[in-house]
Each structure stands twice: as structure tokens, then as C-alpha cells.
Symmetry: C2
Subunit: 336 residues, 2 copies
DNA sequence: TAATATAGTGTAAACGATTACATCACCATT
DNA sequence: AATGGTGATGTAATCGTTTACACTATATTA
């Protein structure tokens, strides 16, 4: 591969001059020298070696994106937004899936550190939240989706409590009284949404028919919902805290030959391709995934530029998208 | 940050010895020296700088993954498989979304080259297929999903023609005669699936009611399907070549107040979360995404290990998952 | 005219690892 | 006792950049 020395030789200048032309800053190079260098570069098809540059300047144009599973539609969408925002600034994105496993989280964070990434966008398990401080000092961080205890780090979060509250109130207003909740057990998000859920019920002199904290996977949602529906006292609504659980619950309702929303209402979090396509379409809290990803990336770049700037927490609002899965006719309400 | 010199000093040895301990190969170090070095490493919390190592050994433990859009469920699933397989070998994955844009493809390929990635897994647009040869010489490549002309590169593909053939035959066997096809216009995949589609029709003395090559996006699928359904001669089935188009078509059918499969059957490619959840569930060709990702990654590692080994093309089989969206009762068939 | 500023360029030292080669001590062989 | 082999370690070059500093030639100023 051709390197900067080859270019320097071809242009009859020193490597320093080539580098100065490359840098394209305000350092002055005589226009005619610059021309010669540029010609040599294009003649030789020279492209600077980014690894060498990174070593010298002690930073890379890469950021790490650490999430539990890219296949969760929420993270899919956020990833794409992060990649777009990073791309615009000339940064690349290293993708890391942790499967909610704290050891894998630690391992990836170490690798990213060793790779000298400029920063990390991270959605940690609640277990990891404790250990986080050890890492924050090393690398610029932005936490997304899941709050951590440390006040010492940038975060981009959803208004989980109020959103869950609104979603639950919506169910109550539609006549649901026996509401079961399915919450992810790996994140703080599940806990916060659970609190909003409980508060809404309490404010209406209700209490949850059942509350389950389970792994955020379709299968677990399915099995848990199926068990709920087999009980003597069946719920008249299921509230889910993420789209994997929603999908599982929906499948369970189908398999139990119940109909939505007549027999049972179903609501959840996160807009997905299928949420509007199923019959009836699902009422959800839509998260602004694009904005979350973009904001996180911008915050990260700000922190990279100024590591001492005081940390910010940006809280974005979920949007209640009311659809058929929760709209019960008056007769149905009275029938309860 | 502590570096190898600090460790050497702390252990009272040279950097060479530290490096030898780190390498952990068969190079012999006196056990008691090794102990001293390991102690120094752990005392100082030393972690080797991967950028420096990469520069010296002239290779990195990173691979690039270049796809059109990670939000396409097929690529989401493949990405995850690639990341898993890479992780097992200690490699990281750089994620690149090209939006079917050849310029963005070229740009990313250049960046990956400059980053000195060990290899690239790439799903190119058909436009790019021509330019590819310029890159193949530089970096180990594995092409996925979309065939390229060059016989000089590893590929992991689906048996698109036969799969589309089977899917079409299935429609015909279920009494469909006026079949319209929606195909992605960015990939060779769309073309190959179109050929299988046409052949199946021809073998049954039929011809397509309509054939559209359109951008692989939900909106385009929706609009095109809506137009089809507004025509005088309506199709009795829509065949789609990817899940974005399937979703769009389904929405269009819903909005046209037609019912599946009675008024119109719908089939497509790719298993998705929603495919089995909608009513009726959708008949699809399921691609073995996990196997595609894993095979591609393994092929890539083989090529990295031996750049001269002769290229392989692995063709995996799609699986026809028959569901309600294409099963018409006998009466319906006769009614046609 | 001498002193000084400035623009343009080159020299060489980093960055933090790996590794070819040299060195040294020790032991076995003749 | 001389020779050679071997095991353990150190020295220093190297990977391909960037950049502090030095240098030269020319322009500016007093």
C-alpha cells in the first residue's frame, strides 16, 4: 500500500508538507506545492491510514453503540439514527449486542476502551448501573433508554412514568378494571413504567390484577400471558412494557381464542412495523426513536469536544397512539 | 493511560518480554518472570492499546458490515448473526447503512479500507456490482444476499429463483390466476425472484397481471399495491419480494377494504415478527438469516486466514411457510 | 542597512505496540 | 578446554501518521 512517504517522494516534498495538505486547515502551504502534492496523491491513489493517524493523535473517529439486542425494534431504529448522525460527522459505529448480560457489557466496554473509541452510547442493564462509574472516567458516555444512578453522565431518556401512567389511564377510561402488567426485568425502564402503571391504578382505586417482571422476549411474554389467561380470574386488559412482550401477549390471546379488545384489551410500548398491521391495531406509547438516537449522538459529540461540560439529562416524551386494541364500545364497558 | 513501558518498568523487564507474556504463544518466558509481569499488569490495570497493535501488525480485529438498511428485518437478523459470529472470534463489527445508494457504498468501502478492517461483509446494489472488482483486490470480501457478476469472490445467497418459483406455484395451486408481482428494484435479488415468479406462471400457461420494480420501502409497496387494487382488472394475488413491500401491500389491501385471502391472496419473502401475528398470518419464504450471517462470517474468516483460497458460493434454501394468507377454500377457487 | 517578522518547508520525535536480531549465561558434547 | 546449542531476555527498528521545532528566504520596519 502506498503511504505518505511515497507521496512525499513523488511530489518532491517532505511528509510534513503532505500531512499539512491533507489536514487542510489554516496552516499555509504554497498553492503550487499544494497542487503538486494533490496530484501525487491522486496519481498514486493514496489514502491515509486511519490506524496510524489514530495512534498519533490518540483518538479515533469511531463510537461504540452498546445495546441489549439490535433485533429489538426500538434499538433497531435508534441504531439507525445513531449511525446516520455519526456518519454526518465522519464517525463510524461499532455495534455491540449484550443480551442483557452484565459480563458481556463489561467485556464490550473494555474492548471499546482498548480500541480507543471516541465515545460510547450505552443502554445498560440495571445490574450494570452500579459498576458504571468505573468506566465513566475513561470514556465519554451517553446513556440511553435506561436511567442510571450516577448523576455524572449524559442521558437521553423517555418520560417512562408519565407515559405508562397515560397508557394505563387510557385503559381505565375504556372500562378496563382487571389489568395485568408485563414488564421487562432487565432494565430500569421496566421498573419506571411499572411505577406509572401502579400510580394510575391507585389514583383510580384499583390495583393490578397481576404484575410480572420477565425477560423481554417474545416467548416469555407468550408464556406469561398464556398463564394469565388460564387463571380463574382473567384480566380484561394486558399492559406490556415493550414490544417483544406485546407480541408474545398478542399471540397468547390469539391462541386462547379470545378477541381483542372485546374480551381483553392490549397495549404496549414502542411503534413497530406490525403494530398498525395486526387486527385490531395495537395502542402504544410511541418512542421518538429517531430523536433519541440523534440527540444521544449529538450529546456524545458535545462531550467529546468538551469532556468537562456538565452532564445533561434529556427527557423526551412518548406519544400515545390510540388504536383499536384498547377502544371498547360502551356496551362492552357496561358488560363488565 | 498506562502503557507497555510502564509495565516493563514495574516488572523490571524489557517491553519485549511484556509483549511476549501478552502474546501468550509458545515463545518461552521464565515462569517466574511471567509472574512478575502478570502482577505488574494487574497492579497497573494495564490494557494493551489495540490501535498501536493494529498499526504494528498491519491488521485489525474488525470487520465491516455494509447493508442497505439495518431496519429491514432481514438485515437486522443477519447483522445480529454476524455480530455473534464475529464476537466469538474476538472481532468487532462496524455497521454501515447505504440506503441502496452506490455513492454511499463506495464511501463506506473506502472508509473501511482506511480503517484497515480485516474484511467486509457486503450486500451491494446491482449498480455497484460492476465497480466491485476494484475493491475486491484490496480487502477480503464476502457478498451476501445479492449475487454479483464477479466469480472472484465469496458469496452467501438464497436459492432465489426456485424459492420464488415454489411460492408462485403455491399461489397457483390455491386457485390464483391473476397474480401481480412487486419486486425490489435495488438488488439483483428482486430480479432473480422475478425470474422464478415468471417461470412458474409460464409453466402453467399464465402470465403476470402486473410486474413492478420499486424501491424496497413500505410506502412504495403501499402506493403501488393501492394503484393495482384500483384498476379495473384486480389481481387475485399479490406476490412481494421482500417484507417491506409485503407490509405496504397488506396495508393497501386493508385500506381497500378487501379481505385476505378471500378477495386477494398475499405472499412474500422473509420471516418477520409480524408475519405470524397479523390476521390472516402471511405465507412467506423464510430465509435462514442466522445461517446466512454465520456462514458469511465464517467464510470471511477463512478468506482472511488464506487470501488465496479459491472463492466459494454458498446457496442456502428458503423455506416455504404456508399460512392463512394464501390458503383459499375450494369454494373460493371455484368461484374464480 | 540592520534587525525583525513572516511564510513555507523540512527534520525528527513522538504515539504504543511487535519482533528480528543480538547478547548472554548455562549446559552438553567432543 | 574449546565448541556449539539452547533458553531467556534485551535492543532497537518498525508500522504510518502528526506536529513541535528549526531553518531559510523573503518582506517589513526603523
Amino acid at each position: 500500500m502506498t503511504n505518505i512517504k511515497d507521496v512525499a517522494k513523488a511530489a518532491g516534498v517532505s511528509t510534513a508538507t503532505v500531512s499539512r495538505v491533507l489536514a487542510n486547515t489554516d496552516v499555509r502551504v504554497r498553492p503550487e506545492t499544494r497542487e503538486r502534492v494533490l496530484k501525487a496523491i491522486s496519481d498514486l491513489g493514496y489514502r491515509p491510514n486511519l490506524v496510524a493517524r489514530s495512534l498519533r493523535v490518540q483518538k479515533t473517529a469511531k463510537i461504540g453503540l452498546v445495546v441489549s439486542d439490535i433485533r429489538n425494534p426500538f434499538f433497531t431504529a435508534v441504531s439507525r439514527a445513531v449511525e446516520d448522525a455519526a456518519y454526518e460527522e465522519g464517525y463510524s459505529v461499532l455495534m455491540c449486542n449484550t443480551d442483557e448480560n452484565p459480563d458481556k457489557e463489561a467485556l464490550y466496554l473494555n474492548v471499546l476502551h482498548d480500541e480507543n473509541v471516541a465515545g460510547v452510547i450505552f443502554s445498560p442493564t440495571h445490574q450494570f448501573s452500579e459498576r458504571l462509574n468505573a468506566y465513566i472516567s475513561n470514556i465519554p458516555f451517553v446513556i440511553i433508554d435506561r436511567a442510571v444512578k450516577s448523576r455524572n453522565v449524559d442521558m437521553v431518556l423517555l418520560d417512562n412514568g408519565p407515559a405508562a401512567y397515560d397508557l394505563t389511564i387510557h385503559l381505565i377510561e375504556n372500562g378496563c378494571r382487571k389489568i395485568a402488567g408485563l414488564f421487562g426485568n432487565a432494565s430500569t425502564t421496566g421498573q419506571e413504567r411499572n411505577r406509572g402503571f401502579n400510580k394510575a391504578l391507585k389514583d383510580n382505586q384499583l390495583s393490578p390484577l397481576a404484575t410480572h417482571f420477565i425477560p423481554p422476549r417474545i416467548l416469555q411474554g407468550y408464556e406469561t400471558a398464556l398463564a394469565l389467561l388460564a387463571q380463574n380470574e382473567k384480566p380484561d386488559a394486558i399492559f406490556t412494557s415493550n414490544s417483544m412482550l406485546t407480541a408474545g401477549a398478542l399471540q397468547a390471546i390469539r391462541d386462547a381464542k379470545l378477541s381483542v379488545p372485546e374480551d381483553i384489551a392490549l397495549v404496549g410500548f414502542d411503534e413497530t412495523t406490525w403494530g398498525a398491521l395486526v387486527e385490531p391495531p395495537i395502542t402504544v406509547i410511541a418512542q421518538p426513536t429517531e430523536e433519541i438516537g440523534r440527540t444521544a449522538t449529538e450529546l456524545l459529540f458535545q462531550r467529546i469536544a468538551d469532556p468537562t461540560r456538565s452532564p445533561k439529562t434529556v427527557i423526551l416524551n412518548g406519544e400515545l397512539h390510540i388504536r383499536g386494541s384498547s377502544i371498547r364500545q360502551r356496551e362492552q364497558i357496561h358488560a363488565n
